[in-house]
Symmetry: C2
Subunit: 281 residues, 2 copies
Amino acid sequence: MMNFLHKLQNAKKTNNSYVCVGLDSEFEKLPESVKSYPDPQALFNNLIIEATKDNVCAYKINSAFYECRGADGWKSLENTVKGIPENIPIIVDGKRADIGNTSRKYAQAVYDLLGADAVTVNPYLGLDGIEPFLNYEGKCAFVLCHTSNKSSEDFQRVSLAGGENQLRRDKNAITRLFELVAHKASEWNKIGSCGLVIGANVPEDFTRIIDIAPGLPILVPGIGAQGGDIRAVVERLRGTDFTINSSRGIIFAPGYDDFAEGAHRQTIALKDIINDILANR
Amino acid sequence: MMNFLHKLQNAKKTNNSYVCVGLDSEFEKLPESVKSYPDPQALFNNLIIEATKDNVCAYKINSAFYECRGADGWKSLENTVKGIPENIPIIVDGKRADIGNTSRKYAQAVYDLLGADAVTVNPYLGLDGIEPFLNYEGKCAFVLCHTSNKSSEDFQRVSLAGGENQLRRDKNAITRLFELVAHKASEWNKIGSCGLVIGANVPEDFTRIIDIAPGLPILVPGIGAQGGDIRAVVERLRGTDFTINSSRGIIFAPGYDDFAEGAHRQTIALKDIINDILANR
């Protein structure tokens, strides 16, 4: 099995794309045309995958949209994973974390059982809640650093006092919680298995985060339906190992009779926007 | 369907118990005696439930131990829930949180699909990541405030600067992240649907947390296998709506030929210890 970072790099090069398609395939929103089939959710995803696989660098699957259907949902998740070509990495977006012996079980679920290449994890429990994921060599745990929702400011942006803001000097002083998360994630990246999630809503913070945790792969949600400023984000990500995710804006693209055609066109549109920004500095 | 807090209160009174049994029924650790049956995990749990139901105030089910078995695990989870008597509340310990439209799906999974009475949630994404859970009237979302693992100090105990530590004056000044979480949770408790998780490893912090967020129900993990000091914890919880969880120490109690007998005896032992501490001040 290929290392996640190599697989991601190869897919970026082969497809000339930084776009990750998020398969947030809410069952209630599935088109009538797939509903009479045995597994509508997986069929929908497989048609989206077929229509976009030459223009993406990864697929992200948010487990909530499957978990809400119980055992059937888990089967749809498995059937979705099976439909993703071997050369495109799969990120399972579950934002899990628990105490060590329990987190090990979550890691088994996504890596051993499902065969995913990467996951998202929540930092609130600290290192030992994430370590079971980090210990999988060749995989990648993207730690939530700054999320794309409005309430991210409740805790992620609080100002720190005491010793924490002395961890780094000068321009990289740690002053906010999300910066401390970036700093710790950088320390945790011992075998190249740690990345960061940074929402597209805070382009002004990207440069600082990248300075604090240089070299970590970055997964960016919040483009499209969530309204992040793509130009401001991409300008700051230049030169990093970044991946831009779009979910609803691609899989439920409005204005198309055929959802697969819509997904195809929206994926190319986003890919071109990113590549144009990178080409013109 | 009865309100969670009433159900918890009634179970505490009827069974004279503050003990919650955690069904962390790791498949690999199940005894040989259940392994030849169709659903060993649910059978094991149902036998534990039968042996303990007159001495507990709640059951907590950690989703990781089921999720790691995929669709089969979800069915074991469903079969476990079905075996819990109507008068004992069920807490699903999933520590979930995501952006709003996604968290709604997680809330549907535990409340609408599974029929749980309460959940645990992770605060890192802030209010809108938890709100879909809080909006279920008569249910309860226990927000992770201070967890029982060693690395809880990585972020939960960092000192805050700026405006945050001015939120409360005098003895209730907010100086650490877990205190800010308690403060916010108290604000979020508009319809009585918010609680706190506080690990048994930090008895010295219980009094401050209770002062910051008075009246919130408290779920305490970290007793038993994790080694928390039960006396120090219970002394400080006196007068609050608290629930003490023990998982491995009860369901995999060492030294018994019959695991159900072991669970029965260990549950009563823990119940008696807590009641003795409360009776002798």
